[in-house]
Symmetry: C2
Subunit: 358 residues, 2 copies
């Protein structure tokens, strides 16, 4: 793991940025993010999976290990839920110095409708033994990270794995999962950052001591230095983003807006509590005013917000800020950590307002 | 327009890389690229289009201007064709110095099945007048580039616009176009670079002198300096790419492969002539051997290739090189031009082969 103090981006980071893409911010206008606009973070390669031979193995500290086909999973009770997924590294490239990894600006998010079968009844059928403390989810994808060759694996404490809303999802937005979203099966844990929602699931294993895999024990932790153990990244901290108004400059993405009434709109979400309010600032965070907020269709789907801005000619920096029911909100300046996780500093959208031409 | 001489990437370039994504190279394995894996290059914003009120205006130097609804277009004869699209700027970031723009490495490509109605009969119905020399295609998307506020517009010489295989496409891979691919209608001009395939079509206008819009007259030209007029970018020059073998390192994407027989596979395409052969090098381009090539299902769909490589322990650089029926091929080193177009230098895939562990 390395940090970069330069303000420019290395070619290794560019290689990741070219593969893993953000939500183009104008796509915040869709209640449900279309496939292809939802953010993607793929650690290794997208695996090639034959659904006919694929099996899900449920084992470890259980009384009755299970081997399930895709047809088995599809024949179980199904549920569809809208869930906002965000990468824990969203905002990483805006930190200084920054961890050299996927260089997210602020668009590593999406809100999709996931369809699958609840996990808890499957674990109940398997019969979790008394010594079970965590559940490990292993993907088919394999590679090297932190000098360790590994399959992508993450765990959840048993109580979180047994939560009512945890799904094994085989469809998104009414279609079978596309390869990049985990075909044929992925985990969906509403409210948690994206690293939790293991894609291309191969095995679910109940373990009798905390899982120490690299993606759990080394990465996805809030720490101030490489030597520190730190604390695990879990649920999504609040964030609001806006659809950038007006039209863009191709290269700088600076916005050009005509003077007058300008309706700003966007989304806000939190994995900790419902969004209570969203505020908007047109002066780079000096003063704030309340936006109108409309909750999403489910607890962990993003909320919508709108704000009528009277755009006066000149240069402005627009920002928005979400606060949830637990009182968690967004800082003006990022709280730094070594790996660049959970940076929910407020968005800054430079806008040039010109006198109306009509 | 500016060039960068640094080896690192600016934040403006990162902003574009986060929006516009490449094909993850392992997705070369799909004959038809799934939506969401196909490359995207969006100059301004993805527009929001109401298909009910949207209209296509066909006008200019024609006898009978037409106004067509989406239903009108769907009720006309339809055709489906597999077409490989590639961005003219693919490979730009590998040039030094490079133009500061979308910093593509080498994955700005995809091969999809486009469904639409042929353009030529529509132009015939409209009755192109004798003075018509070009056809201008205008998208709904609008922004600023090169300090010029503009809608995205490109033209084709009349003969190219009337070619049999030019489509007005309303579907991709059997589904209505998603927003990012031009909903509700885009132009498809098989064999030409991506800038030609205007998305979010609003108007088709026959003009009596060559179109001088920014995307035609300033950009998308091969030139050695900013002052030079240059020559227009048109058809796709040949390229072969491989599915990187083995497993990746997360950050560097270096491949780890086990020693022994390793089947390499990939795709090759050219907008100038059918692919005649693909060669593979395992020593950074010193020596080459022929791969087995299988043509695609249509003239401008990519061909498949396979090559059996005997991977010996150690470090290697794998490359592949396509040659088409016109004799066009790929250079080992890029031919530089000011804006970084048409860089089809051969791919270089660093591979570490380790002694087989089983």
């Amino acid at each position: 793991m390395a940090t970069a103090t330069t303000t420019e981006i290395t070619f290794d980071e560019l290689g990741l940025a070219a593969r893993n893409h953000a939500l183009p911010l104008e796509a915040l206008r869709h209640d449900v993010t279309p496939v292809g606009l939802h953010y993607l973070l793929i650690h290794y390669d997208i695996p090639s999976v034959d659904a006919q031979t694929w099996r899900l193995e449920v084992g470890g500290a259980v009384d009755r290990p299970l081997t399930l086909t895709l047809a088995d999973l599809r024949s179980r009770p199904s549920r569809t839920v809208a869930v906002t997924l965000e990468c824990a590294g969203n905002g990483r490239a805006l930190l200084a110095p920054r961890s050299v990894s996927q260089p997210w600006l602020n668009g590593a998010v999406g809100n999709a409708e996931w369809t699958g079968t609840p996990l808890a009844p499957i674990l109940e059928e398997a019969g979790v033994r008394a010594e079970g403390v965590e559940v490990v989810f292993r993907g088919i994808d394999r590679g090297v990270q932190g000098d360790v060759e590994q399959s992508y694996e993450r765990s959840l404490p048993l109580a979180d794995a047994l939560a009512d809303d945890v799904l094994l999802a085989y469809a998104v937005n009414g279609q079978p999962l596309p390869p990049q979203h985990g075909f044929p099966l992925r985990l969906v844990v509403p409210g948690w950052y994206g690293m939790t929602h293991v894609k291309w699931l191969a095995a679910i294993t109940v373990v009798d001591e905390p899982f120490r895999g690299w993606q759990q024990d080394v990465s996805y932790r809030i720490r101030q230095s490489e030597d520190e153990q730190g604390t695990p990244v879990t649920r999504i901290v609040p964030r609001a983003l806006m659809v950038p108004p007006g039209i863009p400059d191709f290269l700088t993405r600076t916005r050009i807006v005509e003077a007058g009434r300008c309706e700003l709109q966007g989304r806000a979400w939190s994995g900790w509590g419902p969004i209570e309010h969203v505020e908007v600032s047109a002066d780079g965070g000096e003063t704030w005013a309340d936006a109108t907020v409309e909750p999403g269709p489910s607890r962990f789907a993003w909320s919508s917000w709108r704000f009528e801005w009277d755009a006066a000619p000149g240069e402005h920096v627009l920002s928005c800020r979400a606060t949830d029911a637990t009182g968690r909100t967004q800082p003006l300046d990022a709280e730094w950590n070594f790996d660049g996780f959970c940076n929910n500093a407020v968005q800054r959208v430079p806008v040039v307002v010109r006198a109306a031409t009509r």
